[in-house]
Symmetry: D2
Subunit: 334 residues, 4 copies
């Protein structure tokens, strides 16, 4: 099999993670790097033996490039996806496609018209634990899903400037769990209600966001889901999932960062959680990339499609509206 020639668009924090994975993947020829900052393009390209690109149009024009990995600023995703559609390049795209649903939907439509393969980077689908839960549910051993619980507690409040343009906690943090909920259960949520507070920093409220929220969802079969999301936990990065079914409860337990126990009088001290989110998720990115490469080579849709991206966004929009109105909000079906 010939390798997939890939250009990286965006060489910031998450772009660097993708760059390393592109370089490591045996099925990928990591050809080019584009970033708005030419110095960053150059440095990243040099590190991985790729070509630095000054104008993104060069990539669209290059027949030697099969695919692009969009890891640039959020507000450029939809435009780049649309351009890639015109150029006939396959796309691996960081979420979200756009904070505005209509803009995102338009870009997705362009991609669909062009028939290019597109995958959204819902990397948690490739977490070992979550993938195991998915397999278990698919196998039938869990039975009909009845409840789903997601705990998502981040280690620190992101900078306020970031929060101000993030779309809010539902779109920025919970969108991952909206996707997981749909993917794991195979059932669509039909209504959502959320409570939120700014407990970590009152300035979060001033910019119209929350840092602590509980979101509950009713699924079309009556199953019920809850997501507790916290931006700044006191104790590290904590992700935990449990789903009950008619036959079994299945849990992706919180993960300690080691296996050492100190037994003293009256208590045992053990390893804690990761202090950052990246160590918890770092192994999901190469697997997500591998799914993209494999799906393209096999000519089948990848695990996380643009339609999945739009659905998660619909739910995040409804949850955001619930936070604003204080009432439950129906999730549009389209």
């Amino acid at each position: 099999m010939s390798r997939l020639s890939v250009a990286l668009l965006g060489a910031g924090f998450i772009g660097q993670v993708h760059a390393q994975n592109l370089a490591n993947h045996p099925g990928v020829a990591f050809k080019a790097v584009y970033d708005v900052d030419p110095a960053r393009s150059a440095a990243t390209a040099a590190k991985f033996g790729a070509a630095p690109i000054r104008e993104v149009e060069e990539i669209w024009a290059d027949d030697g490039i099969d695919a692009v990995l969009i890891a640039s600023a959020t507000n450029t995703h939809a435009d780049l996806l649309t351009q890639a559609a015109s150029a006939g390049k396959a796309v691996f795209c960081e979420k979200p496609i756009d904070l505005d649903y209509q803009t995102a939907a338009k870009a997705v439509d362009a991609a669909a018209q062009a028939g290019i393969p597109v995958m959204i980077d819902f990397c948690r689908r490739f977490d070992d634990s979550y993938a195991a839960i998915h397999r278990a549910i698919q196998s039938g051993e869990v039975g009909q899903i009845e409840t789903a619980q997601f705990i998502a507690r981040g280690p620190a409040l992101p900078p306020l400037e970031y929060l101000a343009v993030s779309g809010g906690q539902q779109r920025d943090q919970n969108v991952h769990y909206f996707d997981l909920l749909r993917w794991l259960t195979g059932v669509e949520p039909v209504e959502v209600f959320a409570y939120g507070s700014a407990l970590a920093d009152p300035r979060v409220a001033e910019i119209g966001d929350v840092d602590t929220s509980v979101t509950v969802l009713k699924l079309e079969n009556g199953a019920l889901a809850t997501i507790e999301a916290v931006r700044r936990s006191a104790y590290g990065y904590d992700e935990r999932i449990e789903l009950t079914g008619s036959k079994q409860m299945i849990e992706a337990a919180r993960q300690r960062d080691g296996w050492v126990n100190h037994y003293g009088v009256g208590s045992v001290r053990s390893n804690g959680l990761d202090t950052e989110w990246l160590p918890r998720l770092i192994r999901t990115f190469p697997r997500a990339l591998d799914e993209f490469v494999t799906a393209v080579s096999e000519g089948r849709p990848p695990s996380a499609t643009p339609a999945d991206g739009l659905r998660a966004q619909r739910i995040a929009d409804a949850a955001t509206q619930s936070l604003a109105t204080g009432s439950p909000v129906a999730i549009p079906a389209d």
Copy 2:
């Protein structure tokens, strides 16, 4: 110290548990047993060396009785409490005081007027784990509470006849967690929203109840709580609590019923959960009784007062209303 002379009112399932604890408590003289079924009175009295009573008035008239433990049918609690108030007996009362808030409030008022000591059997306050969490929060080590999570999954659907008169899942099952929430955090919830479904048995919906619910509450300081309650789990009796604070997360982990691990190829098989709720909670009852006896002897209010009982009921009523209306409901402050 002289012992507290106690009469047991009601000798059914939970009455038997209390009878054994009354007999075991060194500070209690277990004097008399009353039940609507004279045969049951007689058998229980004989087993524990107490006197069987045919008419409850005999107890009110007996100066040798200091206190009564009300464990009879729910719809008799308020009346018996009111009678005990008239007779000046201390009361340890199974929850709820009455399914109707006004009826309950009136009985509580009578008790307050009479100045009798009254304790509501919120036995979970005496669970080892929950008591440890309470102490930890009181000590300040957890910091300001930000979120609270309660999982309550019962092993089997109660009989439909029971459910029909139970007041619904919020009043019957969640009321314990409403009390725990207030007691552990020391903060009042101000609004509640709930989703519910009948997933275990569609007949539950026919009687206007749910068997699976998620309930979210906003506390007056902005903290957020969730309760996932399931009547029939696939895997046993499961109670679990976790609270995050500004300094620490504290967890009462789910409890396995043993410590044996079988290591095989690719997996480990370990003990599961209790199959019934009683083994999980059996040790809380004698401690609750001990708190009552100690509080009466020290002339101080016991841990769980009638006011606590009414507050929990207020929240349960609001949550029930939310289930019915599909909207969040403010919890009356009085």
Copy 3:
């Protein structure tokens, strides 16, 4: 079924535990208490409604007594067992029968000649975890046993006066694990080697004993066992067992005394171990008693026979000899 009439011989610390269990057992009529200290006899008898006995001969002469529970000082066990044999009473006997093997064997022989039922209180056979391991091994799921590991760490050094007459760590502490090893595996050990040190207190060495030891045993089928025994651990009472078989490893994990976890930055603090041995084993005694009562009523040998007691003692003697000589010692087969 009529109840078994039992007299308690010895009302000290462990005698009190047995007294409570005799009183609680529905198949036992707790008739009489004998102790060398008449005041102790009287107090214990009064507490449980039994008769205080001044001379043990009264018990042998009383046709209304079916069985005796020997919980007196170790150096009286063999004599009391022999007397009980003459009197035709069934015997539940605290271990060891005697610190001297020949003396013990003679008493066992007398009991065998008389045909009385005798059970040795190897209470750990009735620990939930160990019983589960026994069942698993019996069922075949573990396969052929290949290794066995016993950890036994006590919370505090016993008084030196106790140690001086205890027979040494092998006879006093390890004898339980020698019995468990035989019972769990169903295979006889044929040779033993032990290292020991006095690390907790040098005076332990002065009285010819050790407080810390590792003992290794070769079983007749080539399986290997190790026992690490510590008199004074820094962190509580710790018992742990793991056995590997040709199909599975099975473990009785160390037991925490609760289920609360505190998550802080970088570490989790959890419940520790019991601080004393009794909480860990308290539930084994009534079950051992129940086995005795049931075996007597069914006319079958109880789980732990005098022959089992002698075998464990043979091994303890050999291990003691190994400590003294610094060489492995063959365990006599008889």
Copy 4:
């Protein structure tokens, strides 16, 4: 700082692991690969951009090479180490230096005379858990070490041809734990006793080896250690350590290969252990390499010296002798 130029000697299984780590280490220039099989040299060199070497003498003669990593067959280690000493190259050497102690000692002596930096690949010193235990003991929080327990259970019997030249279980498998014991406790063992059996395959006995053993050691301060080593476990690769001290017990718990729990009626099924040894230890190799590179650059001895290698070998020789003679064997102090 300029990078350390390294040549790899030996490109077999473990050589491939080292090759990848040499290529990844930012402080290493991976210059050359030598293997007895020229095709293997060529392939490995090509993969990592190094030069394939036909005669090892070329490496000794090349002033551009600072160090060699010896990962060739065991019986070539001592000779290569001696040659490296003559050539003045730093050496990172797979264990053992030689199965024969005198041969190993002679090579170590040559290295010492030449003054070259040498590190033995006792990679477990760089395991996260073991390093944490080392730090804890060094910090004093564990107190005086009193007992040490090592469990080492491999997933499968190595090929008999391998076992025949391995030096036996003590030299091949336990040597790692002899080193850990010395390194963690900082105390020398003075005597050793071992039992061993061939339980996995009787042919192991025919070649004079064992596949299952328990080894006990007495340390110079009276502390006691045990090592249970199994070649073929029924359930995966299992390493576990626990040490008790006068203040604390510290444990490197066995590691599950994931965090998913399935709760069913009466039991919970969880992830098992690794199925091979490499996943458990893979992260130790780059850290060991890093220690070598750092030590060389700082001009200080690395963590695991040739003297450490010889000490571990002395203990393994004594343990082997104990297996052969059935008696405890004193460990020579030199």
